[in-house]
């Protein structure tokens, strides 16, 4: 059962989100901006947090506040992280990303409590911890953001994994709402014309279904504008990440993990462009002053796979403690590298191209090539491969990728077993021990040079 849009609902949304919410969140942001220290922040090894974090937090809080009051004011879509959202955005949907919400639960250390709700209902612990967190939140209503809006439609795209297919079927069954599925054929070497045509056709088919739920016609003019905003934001995001090529790097991959939320959740909105422009300015000031995100940067590393959301700061500090900056990550890069494929003049065809090409929809050889390129371009000394118990498609091939770096490229590489969201699959002591041994190898290899 979906909720109709009413004047009362719209009014409530305006008052709660755009008036009261805006003022309160702006006040909180100003208070955060004035704070010079954060509890638990190791200032001896890390530069102070980026000032723009306060602004980003305000933006994301407003997004989730919008979700809280969305039902009755806007149509709501729940989507997978790699879903082609531009059509929904152009039709005025409020878009919720359960994966981002799950990551938020992870960062706030709420996963075990929420995922247990799904496990108690019979969902195996072998299922992705994002899926368990989301299903647990749906079943129990538990969330750190107050309330999640009920969806009117679900959009799942198989370009990140096959789990989403079954996960979204669970959601469709629970909420009794339509599920739009975009099937993206796996790319072994390169996308064929018929692959692009096949995805494009699905996007065309999606339009009338989405229009019916939205209760309005899609304006192609508006769609083109959304694609332009998406493209511009993605390019800026790429620029932000590329600034890490400077030595010392003004940012860490952990800064990237934190600041990627808008490019995932809000792409297609001009506010993201504005945010990343400001972020670039702040980073450029750091570069001009020679400020490194890790004080005394001695080693530069690559991170592969999702982050360990519940240990973000701990990881940043542990590596920084050895004078190592994890400057680049395949995961954050994945949100920028497809930018050149977006084309507002061919919105559907270019969307088909773009959404066929995420890292996880391509062969493991492609990922290795991307990693090799990053090692070269970012002048990296070592590679950390997070073997993520939850994300099987991302972790597949890591043994061979590690083997390549260690035995063929002479670059030390560490396999770190953990989980992006479930602290029960992670041990501090064991992770610290492996990292310590890895850092000793790096140290030794530079002494041997």
């Amino acid at each position: 059962m979906t909720e109709s849009i009413t004047i009362r609902g719209k009014l409530r949304y305006q008052l709660a989100v755009n008036v009261a919410g805006r003022l309160t969140l702006a006040f909180r942001r100003r208070r955060n901006e004035r704070k010079t220290a954060r509890p638990g922040w190791s200032r001896d090894v890390l530069a102070p947090p980026l000032k723009l974090s306060a602004r980003m937090k305000e933006l994301m809080s407003r997004h989730y506040l919008g979700g809280r009051y969305a039902n009755g004011a806007k149509k709501v879509a729940w989507v997978t992280s790699g879903a082609p959202i531009e059509i929904l955005k152009a039709l005025g949907f409020y878009i919720l990303y359960p994966e981002n919400h799950a990551a938020l639960c992870g960062a706030r250390r709420k996963t075990v409590e929420i995922a247990s709700e799904a496990e108690n209902a019979g969902y195996s612990r072998d299922i992705c911890s994002y899926a368990r967190t989301d299903i647990g939140a749906v079943l129990s209503g538990k969330t750190p953001v107050g309330r999640l809006p009920r969806p009117d439609v679900l959009l799942a795209c198989t370009n990140i994994c096959q789990t989403v297919l079954y996960w979204y079927r669970v959601l469709a069954d629970y909420f009794k709402v339509p599920l739009i599925l975009i099937d993206t054929p796996f790319i072994y070497e390169e996308a064929h014309a018929h692959d692009v045509a096949y995805v494009k056709r699905q996007l065309e088919d999606m339009i009338p279904a989405a229009e019916k739920i939205a209760g309005k016609k899609l304006s192609f003019k508006r769609l083109k504008e959304v694609v332009r905003f998406s493209r511009e934001a993605s390019f800026l995001w790429l620029e932000v990440l590329d600034r890490a090529k400077h030595r010392p790097s003004p940012i860490t991959a952990f800064d990237g993990f934190i600041h990627m939320a808008p490019i995932v959740d809000l792409r297609g909105e001009p506010v993201v462009i504005d945010l990343y422009r400001q972020l670039l300015k702040e980073i450029d000031v750091r570069i001009s002053k020679g400020i490194g995100a890790v004080k005394h940067e001695k080693k530069r590393l690559l991170w592969d796979n999702l982050p360990i959301w519940f240990k973000l700061r701990k990881m940043a500090q542990t590596f920084a403690g050895y004078g190592a900056n994890v400057v680049a990550a395949t995961y954050t890069y994945a949100w920028g590298e497809l930018a050149p494929m977006m084309d507002e003049t061919r919105p559907l065809e270019s969307a088909a191209q773009t959404y066929l090409h995420p890292l996880l929809n391509q062969g493991t050889g492609h990922k290795l090539e991307s990693m090799q390129k990053m090692v070269r371009e970012f002048s990296l000394d070592g590679v950390v491969l997070h073997s993520d118990r939850s994300c099987k498609p991302y972790s597949l091939g890591q043994i061979d990728q590690r083997d390549y770096f260690v035995n063929h490229a002479g670059i030390p590489a560490l396999l770190l077993e953990a989980d992006h969201n479930d602290p029960r699959s992670y041990s501090d002591q064991q992770a610290e021990n492996r990292i310590a041994a890895f850092m000793e190898i790096l140290e030794d290899s530079s002494n041997a040079d």
Partner: protein, 258 residues
């Protein structure tokens, strides 16, 4: 008595070891005890024993390793057991190669390069079935003393398959075999085979560089050595004190950094 030049201490999960070396890096003294839950007290006791033997330790470099290394506050340095085992074994056997270290809590495969440098490592710290604890548990269940475990296993003329991939379930599998009247020896041989096959998978993941070497408490078990040789086709080289290699390596690092 040779003069003490450096000390190394390995605070492991099952045992705690201290090793003293002389100027040339020769192992001249050691102590080994079951790990005390109050590791700090045990370390103090060890240091006192060293003091009694060699006099004041003030000028003696002292490096800590093992899972409890951070508890050793007096140590000049703490280094992971991966680097220390590599250093210790390399110094004794004088060759690069692949070192398998099976400890109480985890097992590791370490590729050692020139000079005892760690080139790569793989570690099993997620599952007890690849560790010494796996043997310890089942030895207890079968009432076979730990020291006789290897010999008993090797005396079997056939072998039972232990298919459970988990220490606890393997234990129930063994109980069930015993209940079916199967003798202890073939069960033990199967048990060793199961542990060795896990280690071999880990060796393959980093790639075997000859020679194959073994350290850690489990190295004393002759069935492990024999089966490891069978499974890899490589001769297994053993240091004189496999269990002390972590502490020995730590002492050598202390000696070098003086």
């Amino acid at each position: 008595m040779k003069a003490l030049a450096a000390l190394g201490i390995d605070v492991g999960s099952s045992t705690c070891k201290i090793v003293g070396v002389d100027e040339s890096g020769e192992l001249i003294w050691h102590l080994l005890e079951q790990a005390d839950p109050r590791a700090e007290d045990q370390v103090q006791r060890f240091l006192k024993a060293a003091e009694q033997k060699f006099g004041p330790l003030k000028a003696v470099p002292f490096v800590a390793t093992g899972y409890g290394r951070k508890l050793v506050k007096d140590a000049a340095k703490n280094i992971t057991e991966i680097s220390c085992h590599a250093k210790g074994v390399y110094h004794e056997l004088q060759k690069p190669g692949t070192l398998v270290d099976i400890g109480g809590q985890d097992s590791k495969v370490i590729v050692i390069g020139a000079g005892g440098r760690v080139v790569d490592f793989a570690m099993n710290d997620k599952c007890a079935a690849g560790t010494g604890r796996f043997l310890e548990n089942t030895a207890g269940r079968l009432h076979v003393p730990l020291e006789a475990l290897g010999k008993t296993a090797l005396s079997a003329d056939r072998e039972e398959t232990i298919s459970s991939t988990c220490t606890v379930f393997a234990e129930s599998e063994i109980i069930s075999l015993v209940a079916h009247g199967v003798a202890v020896e073939p069960i033990l041989k199967g048990l060793h085979r199961s542990l060795v096959s896990r280690i071999v998978a880990m060796i393959r993941s980093v790639g075997l560089v000859s020679p194959l070497m073994l350290s850690g408490g489990v190295a004393r078990n002759e069935a492990m050595r024999k089966l490891l040789e069978e499974e890899t086709g490589e001769k297994v080289h053993l240091p004189q004190y496999p269990q002390l290699m972590g502490a020995y390596g730590a002492a050598l690092i202390g000696l070098k950094n003086g």
